[in-house]
């Protein structure tokens, strides 16, 4: 029996007057990949942005309901967002390396959290993160070059390295491969397979094939509602809901 890492109960999200999520109840298992699928604007990204409170950045966004990580209420007003985000890393749709060197891109997070006080400790963190994100061999001789000089796929792996540099427990991935070519995508998927040994991963994707390849559990969102959630195999072979069936067979979306 796997542990439940994150648990959402009756989660509602509003952007101003518009409601983006309706009573979402979704459990994410520890050290597993959960894929969220659904047509654009259905609330997948909104959901994962609740997990690391990224919605705070948007002024008009309001979150109600319950979302817990290891029993800790994420939605608590008094929660320290900084330490939450230390535990919950995020990778975005478009690779967004900082206009700094590769080394500084990775060491940015640890420095902020006061990890790696000496240079050699930092060096170790950078090396470990880059190795974990399977980028070390490609960049070890040019750590002082700008992160933006890497190719798209490398940039995305750099962003993954940046996310794991602070040693999180959960990694959120918001369509991490949508801006990448198939080869870079394959590398990232391979990496996700490797990372799930250590981290709980949530991935938003538009590619059904990708969801099948990388995830153990899949949730289908439509118009802000979680329509169906279950083992990936089951969702794609034998979904309970007609709408899920229609979506995965490409009848809409």
């Amino acid at each position: 029996m796997t542990n439940i890492k994150i648990k959402s109960k009756n989660l509602n999200v509003y952007y101003g007057d518009k409601q983006a999520l309706f009573d979402v109840n979704l459990d994410l298992n520890e050290k597993e990949v959960t894929a969220l699928i659904g047509p654009s604007g259905c609330g997948k990204s909104t959901f994962i942005r609740c997990i690391n409170r990224m919605n705070d950045v948007i002024d008009i966004c309001k979150v109600t309901g319950n979302i817990e990580m290891d029993g800790m209420n994420i939605n608590d007003k008094d929660l320290d967002v900084v330490s939450l985000r230390e535990k919950v890393g995020m990778v975005f749709q478009k690779p967004n390396p900082f206009p700094k060197s590769i080394y500084d891109n990775i060491s940015y997070g640890p420095k902020i959290h006061g990890k790696g006080e000496t240079k050699s400790e930092l060096d170790q963190i950078v090396e470990k993160s880059l190795k974990k994100s399977a980028l070390w061999e490609e960049v070890k001789d040019r750590l002082d070059e700008p992160g933006t000089s890497l190719s798209g796929g490398q940039q995305q792996r750099l962003c993954i390295a940046r996310a794991i540099s602070v040693n999180p427990e959960v990694i959120l991935m918001d369509e991490p491969c949508s801006a990448l070519d198939p080869i870079a995508t394959a590398k990232i998927e391979e990496l996700i397979d490797e990372l799930k040994k250590t981290y709980t991963i949530v991935i938003v994707t538009h590619s059904m094939a990708q969801a099948v390849r990388v995830s153990q559990k899949t949730g289908f969102f439509h118009l802000g509602k979680l329509i169906e959630v279950g083992k990936t195999e089951k969702i794609f072979k034998n979904p309970d809901n007609k709408m899920t069936q229609d979506y995965i067979t490409g009848r809409f979306g």
Binding site: N52, M54, V57, D59, V81, V82, S83, L84, R85, E86, G89, M90, F92, K94, N96, P97, F98, P99, K100, Y108, G109, I112, H113, T148, C159, R162, A163, S165, V166
Partner: protein, 467 residues
Amino acid sequence: MNIVLIFLITIFSISLFFYGKSKSKTISIKDNIKLNALPKFYGYYLVLWCSIPALVFLLVWSLFEPVIIKSIIIETAANQGATFNDKNEANLIYEKIKAIHLGTYFGDIDSILKESALAYAKFINLFTNSKVVLIFGIIIASVIYSLKKIKNNNKARDDVEVILKGLLFVSSLIAILTTIGIIFSLLFESIKFFSVINVFDYLFGTNWSPQRAFVRDASSITAAELEELKDAFGFIPLIAGTSFIAFIAMLVAVPIGLFSGIYMAEYASIKVRRISKPIIEILAGIPTVVYGFFAALTVGPFFRQIGENFGLTVSSESALAAGLIMGIMIIPYVSSLSDDVINSVPQSLRDGSYAVGATKSETIKQVVIPAALPGIIGSVLLAVSRAIGETMIVVMAAGLAANLTINPLESTTTITTQIVMILVGDQEFDSPKTQSAFALGLTLFIATLILNYIAQRAVKKYREKYD
């Protein structure tokens, strides 16, 4: 006469517009032809044909008429027996003749002048009449030509486009030629100046006292005087004063402008932003002379008062007062430009930083500002060139004495102030003193040009990164 002609041409063009429009409509209905262009294009077509040739002719005629009349009149006067030794005397006689014609000459009129004045009147009449006749001839010819085109030329649209393109081209040409003209006039006057004063004496001299050369013809300066003038035009105190005041201004403007830009871009709510941004930009709309008397009458004496309380001698015209006020004037430049560049840093970078747990100020300090830095540097450099070129505030608040000092409480002077001082009042145009203003202008121009160039390169480099 010219105004009447222009007025007539305008009236005529406007009525032709409506005529052409309705005529092309009638033609297309009556003969059942589908004209290629909309009726209004035929209207424009007639307007352009009616006005441009006539106006161009009028312009050219007005440029050459006085020159031709003058040479004819001077020749007539010479034939009448007038004597003049050089060009200046000839000009004088011509002016006299003109004045007689206008009835504003009160000297003695001899027979030569009288005859010439009569001839002048005759020629003026002749020229004016032929001008009017020719212009009407041109208008009639071009209107007949263009009216004919309404029938069989279906390309009025294309022709109008071509003519409009030409007009726009001429406008930009005028702008460019004016710039070039200004540069050359600066250059030539400066060359005259540098033929008297050695370039190196100018560039590296530490003493600026141009009044020594007051009312002295460049041509009649003796060797001894030249020796005396050698160290009168030292540029160093001026560039030092200019840089010093600009530096004080930047000390004020950069932190305040940058911080307010950051606040506007990152922290202010939409509502606050909507109100406060225009208010800051009003600062840029205050005439500099207002800043100037504020600096001279309020801030300067205020500093002096404070200085006295501390037992310091503060000149009431101090570099500090001028620099401070200039800094305040420049704040909106820095703040609104840096606001813009900070705004154009992509949100995804901020998200990336927040996602690893950085706070807002950490994100701004370590991600946003470094990403926007080239743009911010560009905006600061633009502000610097504004500060260097600013005149009014320093004229009023910083004083006129060219002290080479780094004490902000003393008075200093700047390049622009000295140009004003040199050119105010009656001038002897070939005195080195007057010409030195052009040399200063040229130096200032080159300095700001270089700064602007660097600034624009910096801003451009920044743009390429994210677009």
